[in-house]
């Protein structure tokens, strides 16, 4: 298991290769990379606040659950905080399992939980001002398929 909460940029491809090379018995490796999107146009920066201490604990608990529930050979979570620009990678998840179904499900599980249960908050800065990104009902609802909480 590897969890990193860090303001520094990361190289998704290099992380994926390093992660995959460390797996034993995995036939399937899935990665997800989240990128800052300029949805409305005019995004200058994305500020990501987090709750040091709780963030790492919350993510480690999710990863432990995923390792066990999906029989993973390994999992990786990287999440940045601080000031990011449009098209910057925000975070990545990688999962590995003997079979593809489990690797995919675990990556989606981790993403759904990270979105709604890891203490990060996004603030958008545009030429017109700043605003906190609102949580989406669909993100909360996405947790239902995993049996809630």
């Amino acid at each position: 298991m590897s969890v990193r909460v860090d303001p520094a940029p990361f190289d998704a491809g290099a992380e994926l290769n390093r992660f995959a090379a460390a797996q034993t018995g995995a036939g399937a490796v899935v990665s997800f990379t989240g990128v800052v999107r300029d949805v409305a146009g005019g995004l200058l920066e994305m500020q990501i606040e987090h709750y040091p201490g709780m963030t790492e604990k919350a993510i480690a608990a999710m990863v432990d659950t995923a390792l066990d529930r999906f029989g993973l050979t390994g999992a990786l979570v990287i999440h940045r905080h601080g000031v990011l620009g449009p098209d910057d990678p925000i975070m990545m998840v990688a999962t590995a399992a003997p079979h593809r179904k489990d690797a995919f499900a675990a990556a989606e599980f981790l993403m759904d939980y990270l979105k709604s249960r890891a203490p990060f908050w996004k603030k958008e800065v545009t030429g017109d001002g700043t605003g906190w990104v609102a949580s989406k009902d669909e993100d909360e609802e996405a947790l239902d398929r995993w049996g809630g909480a």
């Binding site: 201490g53 996004k122 949580s135």
Partner: protein
Amino acid sequence: MIDVLYFAWVRERIGLPKERVETAAATVADLVAELSAREERYAAAFADLSALKVALDQELSDFDAPLAGVREVAFFPPMTGG
């Protein structure tokens, strides 16, 4: 004494990220009532509890949870990471 932390717009509305609070509040809701009675900026931040979450000692919890033995309370809006 309890550490109270605020994040995102809760932090901005209250105007500080963290404070030590002397309280005998039995539950989170009691603490919220105490803080809201202090000053308008607290009352504004806590006006709609359905828009807020609370963590006790870095674990998500509820507003009716007891505070006995808790050292750190954090208030924040729903998370928007990922």
